[in-house]
Symmetry: C2
Subunit: 243 residues, 2 copies
């Protein structure tokens, strides 16, 4: 796979029209490709000198464990996302990163990233944009847990995933493949798995969206967006701002 059609290039392309030089720089970042099995942390809380990764295929979840054992999933990463970008600039990883499925990812050392930034500053800006978008998603999750009820929160989450997947060529307005369990949804949404199950049944019976057998099928995106109060401008997908 060349950078041209990589999920990361598709994603950054929503913000910056990439030049040939910038494409080559992205290609170099993809050099150290590795495979990871599901269920075993790629990065763990408290680890030092950890690498970042660019996710090429598969799904990953980022979570924090509290000393009492409670777990909060912060976000799921899909192809084209950075893993541990925040941690690579930090001395110590502040969260865990665990593959949900079999994963293919390119390791990026801090020094490669800094070197790429100094050679191609527009790419640094594009990565800052991607980091800002990641933060905007965490903000939406905070607003969701703080102020949305279980049904709105779940609908918002499914719409956000769909929009992100569509940008990297992995979904459509009709739906997408989704390997997450109801337990994972529960830990991300601050609900119990039983509650998630009930909410998903309600959404299905309302004719809005079905999540079954690893597939999300969106039946009525307009009504679903109204229910979730979903304003996708925080994902900023309207095409390159930097020409």
């Amino acid at each position: 796979m060349t950078a041209l059609n990589s999920p990361l290039a598709l994603k950054l392309g929503a913000f910056v029209a990439l030049s040939n030089d910038e494409m080559s720089a992205l290609d170099r970042l993809h050099a150290r490709r590795k495979l990871f099995p599901p269920g075993r942390d790629m990065v763990h809380q408290g680890q030092v000198n950890q690498s970042a990764y660019i996710l090429a295929s598969g799904w990953v979840c980022s979570y924090k464990l509290l000393s009492g054992g409670a777990r909060q999933i912060v976000d799921f990463q899909i192809p084209g996302d950075f893993l541990g970008l925040r941690s690579v600039l930090f001395r110590t990883a502040d969260h865990n990163i665990e593959p949900v499925t079999k994963v293919e990812a390119s390791e990026v050392l801090a020094i490669d990233l800094l070197d790429t930034f100094s050679r191609t500053p527009r790419l640094a800006t594009a990565v800052l944009w991607a980091a800002s978008r990641d933060e905007a998603m965490v903000v939406e999750h905070l607003v969701g847990i703080g102020r949305r009820d279980a049904k709105e929160r779940t609908a918002h989450f499914l719409l956000e995933l769909g929009s992100r997947l569509k940008l990297v060529g992995l979904g459509s307005a009709q739906g997408y493949a989704c390997p997450l369990s109801q337990y994972m949804l529960a830990d991300a949404l601050g609900l119990s798995a039983v509650h998630v199950n009930r909410v998903l049944r309600e959404l299905r019976e309302d004719g809005l969206v079905t999540f079954q057998n690893g597939h999300v099928v969106i039946h009525d995106i307009d009504r679903l967006m109204v229910l979730a109060d979903f304003d996708k401008s925080y994902l900023d997908h309207d095409g390159p701002l930097l020409k």
Copy 2:
């Protein structure tokens, strides 16, 4: 004020040892200084082509309003923080920014920021670090609302503010001035103002921390950190990684 002793330089200095060129570039970013009265939005949700700001003095809050009218405060900004950095790279502001006190801030246009990044890539990396730290704080707030009880959450919040203020020379291990009302704390912590009042009384009666008359006084930081399960590594304040 020159960049050398600006709160932003103090903050970025925790990540990168700034050269004279980088200091000058920071100085230029501080050129367009403006004053803002409390209580009126500097940036509002849905605004396009907005500027970012570097906060020089005063306190600011960032919040989202849902269409039903509920409000979630995402974070408070203190001197040295960027305001609307996420939004300046986006087409549309995804949150509101409102001064809590009288505020002095330097306007930064997107083009100035991109120009600075291409001339001083290390500064771009430092700004990416600052953005990563902002995201790490939002993640902690998500974990707090999702998984910490009201007392732990409030204690964690007061410790985080103290650590941030100390870095920019505005507080000590003993305490700091804090202009926030209990209503603001409530909207940030996902609690009612009555609940915040009760939690603050408990923290005071436990001999841990007092927040009264615009001042936070920390009585026993070790016990407070244990109560809050506060691990400050997510703030990454241990001195420059980039020499």
